[in-house]
């Protein structure tokens, strides 16, 4: 096989892996949109907040220490202990559940039956609030996240595939972290699909998404479902935060990963869990292959805009996205 062909395959595999990471972020958006019709602008910040909280707990950092020190003149920063990753993840999840309850209690329940744009605006406010709280709670410095995930290319795959091409081909590069992310994403998607299709809560969630008032009239607790859904989105945000945070450290730019999820949502549809994965894969492969084949000729750095262009192209032919529900409104 020619080296260029092998390089293209390598780029494609890495595109698929990158697509999975995009999909992890997109899943959180889908969950909330599916259950409440809200486009949650704060999803990226939730990933940041979850990752910040996880590192803070693992390192035994005192929350709000800067604030406490400024008010009381103390110099406390750490409790002096470290928390194992598994326990820290569980504690973080509990905080995300509390966050979900707080969002519902203080914001969402007051906005039942409001226009979607009002709900969207509320999530913009939520994003700024959460970013500020995260800063105040855990500080702004970059934190190293080490939950034991493997990093770097797989030597085994490199060695096994090195003989496929000439001496200029060094075997396929596949990041071990991306492989782990793929497995986790697959488990997550299967779990979420089963939950949405086959459980009582999942069906209630879908009923709420269709019509708040109708769901209420048949006895579904809107409060319970919304807390549940925001908790699930918080869990997905935590997973995305761990994966992306392991790559770059946990820092405030982590919230910008939401930008990578938007074209995935446009392409896969806002209401489909498998759509988020398929959309992620198409965007991931598409942008990487375009960069590989055309990028160099037009100055490179094509990935950001190409992802949106690809999504727009799909929208022309299928406005609801590949897997989105077609909305039919009778007049």
């Amino acid at each position: 096989m020619g080296d260029q062909f092998l390089f293209a395959i390598e780029v494609m595999i890495n595109g698929l892996m990158a697509g999975v990471l995009y999909a992890l972020v997109a899943l959180g958006f889908v969950l909330i949109f599916k259950a409440s019709g809200i486009f949650n602008y704060a999803q990226g910040v939730m990933a940041l907040f979850a990752a910040l909280t996880l590192v803070g707990i693992m390192e035994g950092q005192v929350p709000f220490s800067h604030l406490i020190n400024a008010i009381f003149g103390t110099k406390i920063h750490h409790f002096g202990w470290e928390v194992p990753a598994i326990l820290a993840i569980l504690l973080t999840m509990m905080i995300m559940v509390f966050f979900a309850w707080a969002v519902n209690h203080f914001v969402m329940r007051h906005l039942v039956n409001q226009e979607p744009i009002i709900l969207f605006m509320a999530t913009i406010g939520l994003a700024y609030f959460l970013e500020g709280v995260g800063d105040l709670m855990w500080g702004s410095e970059i934190k190293t996240l080490d939950v034991g995930l493997p990093q770097g290319g797989s030597f085994w795959i490199e060695d096994m595939t090195a003989g496929l091409g000439s001496d200029n081909f060094f075997g396929f590069f596949i990041d071990k972290l991306d492989m782990v992310a793929t497995v986790i994403a697959a488990i997550l998607v299967v779990g979420l699909v089963v939950f949405a299709q086959y459980t009582k809560q999942g069906r209630a969630m879908r009923a709420v998404a269709d019509d708040h008032q109708a769901a209420l009239s048949v006895g579904i607790s809107l409060n319970y479902i919304w807390v549940l859904v925001w908790s699930l989105a918080g869990f997905v945000a935590l997973v995305a935060g761990i994966m992306w945070g392991a790559k770059s450290g946990v820092q405030f730019s982590l919230s910008l990963i939401a930008l990578k999820a938007l074209p995935v949502l446009m392409l896969g549809g806002f209401t489909s869990i498998p759509g988020a994965i398929v959309g992620g894969l198409i965007i991931g492969v598409g942008e990487k292959i375009f960069e590989f084949t055309v990028g160099a000729a037009i100055g490179g750095a094509t990935e950001n805009w190409f992802a949106y262009m690809l999504a727009l192209l799909f929208l022309v032919f299928r406005p609801q996205g590949l897997f989105g529900e077609k909305i039919i409104e009778r007049v």
Partner: protein, 427 residues
């Protein structure tokens, strides 16, 4: 009668002389995606002036005052900060952002307030004949590109012809700054240059590093900022690119950039326009008068880090320019116009830095009307992951002025022509 008395007291109070102080605005960014870089710089900048107030009673007997304004590294907010603080008697602006700098160049020129862009901003502002009130000493981007190449020349016995160098850059005006210089240097030294752009913010760089893995350049030079740096270092480690052949510029060379990659970042190099660490006598004074006294801007744990020292160094250069201005004009409470004169007359000798307790902290240089850019020297530092510290591994390396000066002249002249700037020296 009572009303009249109140009005009289108010009038007397209004007519009383305001307590004089030397005002240094700090356009900081303690929030947002780049806060991790903005906080230590702002702390270092503030702490130096606090030290002068606490230890020396200010500069020449006049107390200093730092007014901080949060920009969030956002250009619009930066301009708002400038507008809201310039009326306070601000002596010099250090915007800490190339985007804000470009917006402030015409504004500060109109308002007669000097602008200091240390290692960033508009490179051709080094030509003081055109950019009368802008200073970018001790070094600029083009110096940085040349210093990186000169370091590689030193490492290769003066010959890098045939070598492949890849520039990984932030796809912005900032990131593109070194390209022209590197192209010129490529022609001069015969190395092959590949430019690889990374889009903002740079969280996903798989394509770029797969390209590097395919093309196997001998060296990678990086012009990055923020999360782009951390991801690039991690990706370089992932593809097992030799870290000692990977050199970042001085905005890709802080502790923030290497810590997330852990041991994998060991050996990574970066340019430096000043020294790191606390092994300078002034830091003992800082500990005594500022940190232990509870007057530090932060909690003191950033002292000695790259970006803290940069803020500290920037403040020191501003304070020394004030001293020059006071000496020139014989006035202690100087104006922004006097500050400009002080900056243009600044001479940072070895002796002067030693007398400040900062011997060899930065390069020795002097400023003139023709040269607002300083000596254009820099060092190379290398990350020791086990010790968790940067070590400077070279002495000051001079940039190739034979290549850079014509570029500075061409760009500044084009600016002068476009904007009808009358070239002059002095005020």
């Amino acid at each position: 009668m009572k009303k009249l008395a109140t009005m009289a007291v108010a009038a007397v109070m209004a007519a009383s002389p305001v307590m004089a102080d030397l005002v240094f605005p700090s356009l900081s960014y303690r929030t947002g995606p780049y806060a991790a870089g903005g906080i230590p710089f702002a702390d270092g900048y503030a702490d130096y002036f606090t030290l002068l107030n606490e230890r020396d009673g200010g500069i020449g007997g006049v107390m200093t005052r730092v007014i901080e304004c949060e920009t969030g590294y956002n250009t619009e907010k930066g301009v708002e900060c400038y507008e809201s603080t310039k009326g306070e008697g601000s002596l010099v602006y250090q915007p800490l952002s190339t985007g804000i700098t470009y917006q402030l160049i015409p504004k500060t020129a109109a308002d007669g307030i000097p602008l200091h862009t240390m290692g960033y901003g508009r490179t051709s502002a080094a030509n003081g004949k055109v950019f009368n009130n802008v200073f970018n000493y001790p070094a600029n981007y083009w110096d940085g590109a040349s210093i990186a190449v000169n370091h590689l020349l030193d490492e290769n016995g003066g010959d890098i012809s045939g070598k492949k160098i890849a520039l990984v850059y932030h796809n912005s005006a900032y990131g593109k700054e070194p390209i022209r210089t590197l192209e010129e240097l490529s022609g001069k030294h015969g190395f092959e240059l590949t430019t690889i752009a990374v889009d903002h913010p740079g969280q996903e760089q798989k394509s770029q590093w797969l390209q590097i893995r395919r093309e196997r350049p001998d060296y990678v030079v990086m012009w990055g900022w923020g999360v782009m740096n951390q991801v690039a270092i991690q990706e370089a480690a992932n593809i097992r690119f030799p870290m000692e052949n990977f050199i970042g510029n001085w905005w890709a060379g802080s502790e923030n950039d290497v810590m997330p990659a852990g041991d994998a970042a060991n050996g990574y190099k970066a340019l430096a326009m000043h020294n790191v660490g606390t092994d300078f006598p002034i830091f003992a004074d800082l500990q005594e008068h500022v940190i232990d006294a509870g007057k530090a801007a932060g909690n003191g744990d950033q002292v000695g880090t790259v970006l803290y020292n940069r803020g500290f160094y920037a403040a020191m250069l501003a304070a020394e320019a004030v001293k020059e201005a006071q000496a020139i004009h014989g006035v202690m409470d100087i104006t922004p116009a006097m500050m400009r004169d002080g900056m243009e007359a600044l001479s940072m000798t070895e002796e002067r830095m030693a007398s400040l307790g900062m011997a060899n902290f930065g390069p020795a240089f002097s400023v003139s009307c023709e040269n607002h850019g300083g000596s254009g020297e820099g060092k190379v530092q290398q990350w020791d992951a086990a010790a968790g510290q940067w070590n400077t591994i070279t002495d000051w390396i001079a940039s190739d002025q034979e290549v850079i000066q014509p570029l500075v002249m061409a760009d500044s002249m084009a600016y002068a022509e476009e904007n009808n700037v009358a070239m002059s020296c002095g005020g």
